[in-house]
């Protein structure tokens, strides 16, 4: 299929799948992902590997926009209220997940570097799926407030941890070149991907505000936001920075420094549903059903330990904080989903440590498949359970409403 046809197909399939998912009492995201699996190379192959490669930019743009809007979480007054607690939860859930996965896999006899890398990758929580589910159910409340901040912090933490671990592994294994050169390269990569990305996001955020006052119409605001996010993601790629951190910082900068932050962030609301639908269908198409077959014992341990680490870590992190009981018992389940960042890190492993990639890739891919499916469903369940879901779509009723009544 050519690219235009496949994008069209993706959107229409997403539409149908979203409705079917609501009928099945599952979040729309799950429908998008499942239809992606169905039309992707794993199953029907309507969207081929080639299509996925050329449409990859759509996913990157969508992810940039998602992180841009999540960045507003770091708006100062809001973050001052939630920040310290949320940081503690993040440290606990991420570290415990890392520790459990690492120990579990090392006990199984996997090489230490493989167990370390898998431990870091296991820490990741998917921002996009989480945001989509919260949005679908119009969620508000103490859990929702914390969840987005948790996801944003989690991703930052994972990137730093991955940088530290891979720098460490490079130093330990580094045989080629002088020790100084190797460590310089390792450290530069770490510092640059964080500091450089933050600098890029802040810079572009400030530049955005220069024009924001003129963008009164929501149409103009939308063009500005969209353009600036694209420039951020593109520039980050060109400079070898992290598009994720840069978009997040951009969102945070705009929310904090601009009088027009709300307009800019809100301006995106109307433009992106098709983009997000495409993003999740493509993400589904990239899931590899075959990977489940090769899950094996190590994969099983990975999945169990990651689940356990997330739930128990979040609970431990909330200890001593003033958080409603309902949130306390369920927050960890909302951190289960896992997606693009995990895959992205795996690609980096493939480049940086090709000798470990064969052991890591199948486990991560199978894990992403499982968590990406389970995550949104769990989040939906928690939202209903804690009463934070304000609007629960009732597709059957909707269908009935659409009958002419006048």
């Amino acid at each position: 299929l050519n690219e235009i046809l496949s994008v069209g197909l993706i959107l229409l399939a997403a539409l149908v799948a979203g409705h079917l998912a609501q009928l099945a009492r599952a979040p729309e995201v799950t429908g998008y992902l499942l239809v992606g699996v169905a039309i992707g190379p794993s199953a029907l192959d309507l969207i081929s590997h080639h299509n996925l490669t050329t449409l990859g930019f759509l996913s990157e743009v969508a992810l940039g926009l998602i992180l841009f809007s999540i960045g507003s979480i770091f708006e100062a007054s809001h973050f001052r209220r939630l920040g310290p607690g949320v940081v503690r939860i993040t440290l606990w859930e991420a570290s415990l997940t890392f520790a459990l996965v690492f120990l579990g896999l090392a006990t199984l006899g996997l090489p230490i570097p493989v167990a370390l890398l898998l431990g870091v990758i296991a820490m990741e929580t998917a921002p996009a799926t989480t945001l989509m589910v919260l949005h679908e159910y119009d969620a508000t409340g103490p859990l929702t407030d914390r969840l987005l901040a948790l996801v944003a912090l989690n991703n930052l933490f994972v990137l730093v941890a991955f940088g530290v671990v891979s720098a460490g592994l490079t130093l330990v294994a580094g045989s080629e070149g002088s020790w100084l050169g190797v460590s310089y390269r390792a450290l530069h990569g770490l510092v640059w991907s964080i500091a450089g990305s933050v600098a890029l996001g802040v810079l572009l955020g400030l530049v955005t505000d220069l024009w924001a006052a003129r963008a009164r119409e929501s149409g103009e605001a939308m063009i500005l936001s969209m353009g600036v996010v694209l420039v951020t993601v593109g520039a980050a790629r060109a400079l070898g920075l992290s598009p994720l951190v840069a978009s997040l910082t951009l969102g945070a900068t705009v929310a904090n420094t601009s009088r027009h932050g709300e307009t800019l962030l809100g301006g995106l609301g109307r433009a992106d549903p098709p983009l997000y639908a495409a993003f999740f269908v493509l993400a589904g198409a990239e899931l590899q059903l075959g990977s489940l077959a090769s899950l094996g014992l190590a994969g099983l341990v990975y999945v169990l330990m990651r689940g356990l680490g997330k739930v128990a870590g979040a609970r431990r992190g909330m200890r001593g904080q003033e958080i409603p009981q309902a949130v306390r018992s369920h927050l960890g389940l909302c951190l289960i989903s896992s997606s693009s960042l995990a895959v992205g890190l795996t690609i980096q492993v493939r480049t940086a440590f090709p000798e470990h990639a064969p052991a890591i890739t199948p486990i991560v891919l199978a894990g992403v498949l499982i968590f990406e499916m389970a995550g949104p469903i769990l989040t939906r369940w928690v939202l209903l359970r804690t009463g934070e879901a304000r609007t629960v779509p009732k597709p059957l009723k909707e269908l009935g409403d659409s009958a002419p009544e006048f």
């Binding site: 530049v207 400079l239 609301g269 480049t351 890739t361």
Partner: protein
Amino acid sequence: LGEAGATPSVHVLLSGRTRVRVALGCVLVLVVGTLLRPSSALREPSTEAVAPILEQKVDRREPVRVFRALQDTARDALRHVVAFEIAPLLGAPISTDFALLRPPTPTTGGFGLAVGPVEVLTHVDALGGELAPIARRSDGTLARGRVSAIEPETGLALVTFEPSEGHEAPTLEITTPAPGELVVAAAGRADSPWIAPVFVTATEEDGARLSLAVSLRPGTPLFVGTGAALAVAASSATAYAAAPGLSRLHARARSGGGVPASIGVVLQALPQALVPRLGPGVLVADVAPGTPAERAGIVAGDLITGVGGHTVEELPAAIARIAALAVGRPANLTLRSRGRERTLGVVPEAALLAERRASTTGTGVRAGEVLEDQALLAAGVSPEAQVLAIEGVAVRDADEARRRLHRRQGPSLVRLRLGDERFFAALEPLR
């Protein structure tokens, strides 16, 4: 989705001067960071250069010859191709002991190939980070390489492996195809046991044309008929050919209209021993049913001497000339059979359409019963092969076959079958 985030209430409204300072600070960080980037930091292979090629699973024997892989992996299949397909074309043995890089992951596959005593040409399938290529030596040990050059446009990297701790570095002898030389390449897919032919119809000073009938995975190596390892596919949709030492032979997949043509014949070089009597020309080893060649009346054993007005005497030239014919447009083919020249019109099809398996029927007599093993060995024929026909006349039993071979002074053109492959050989009893 903006409203799902927190609603900003109090803004940190920096003064104009502070903003300028912060912005300048950010610019400084970016500039310094960029300047301090280590030189070997990898850039992504550019995707703009990626041209679409046919997305087809190829499982074929046409028209280079039977690139039938016997092993499970492309790695073994490549050895097979080099040893049994390319070496006979060259008429000289070449080393099959080349170094292949370990596939980076089970899902992407990928190989590099040795281009010199200690150098491996490989692709950079990188999104960032440090490249640490690993090569497996013939003794099974691993060697870690150093990237000595990267060609940013194609993402091809030259990796040097230093010999270490009593291990020798991987070696491969190679030759570079000369400009204007016609070469034929074979490509193996990492995920498939099949080897498919790739045509390099002409090489130029700094560019070669490649027409591909297969989709190549990153890292797929290409071999040329001159015995050189020519290139590695650098991205999933484009094949880049690079001459050893990265003197860049650009070979890009031609998109649209660039489908190689086929008439449905399996070609074979005429055994050298028969050239004085029958030659020069290229032997039709087999004709696939339902193809243009069959419709035009070409039969196995015919010698092709001209394609589209050009004289062809060598196998690579014949393959390239046929592949370069225009699909759907009648072309003349000059043939010689039983000493008579004739010219036929054929309408070539796209190679993938003409792609049909030749029938594998035909039983004969076990070659081992007809001739001594040494005589068979001299002609490169397995004793297990079936003798189907001698000089165009079908064989009924072993005694008759032996008599007919002994009757002729010098070698006879014998049609054989081994597995599902039919071919010719020049057989001669020991005198």
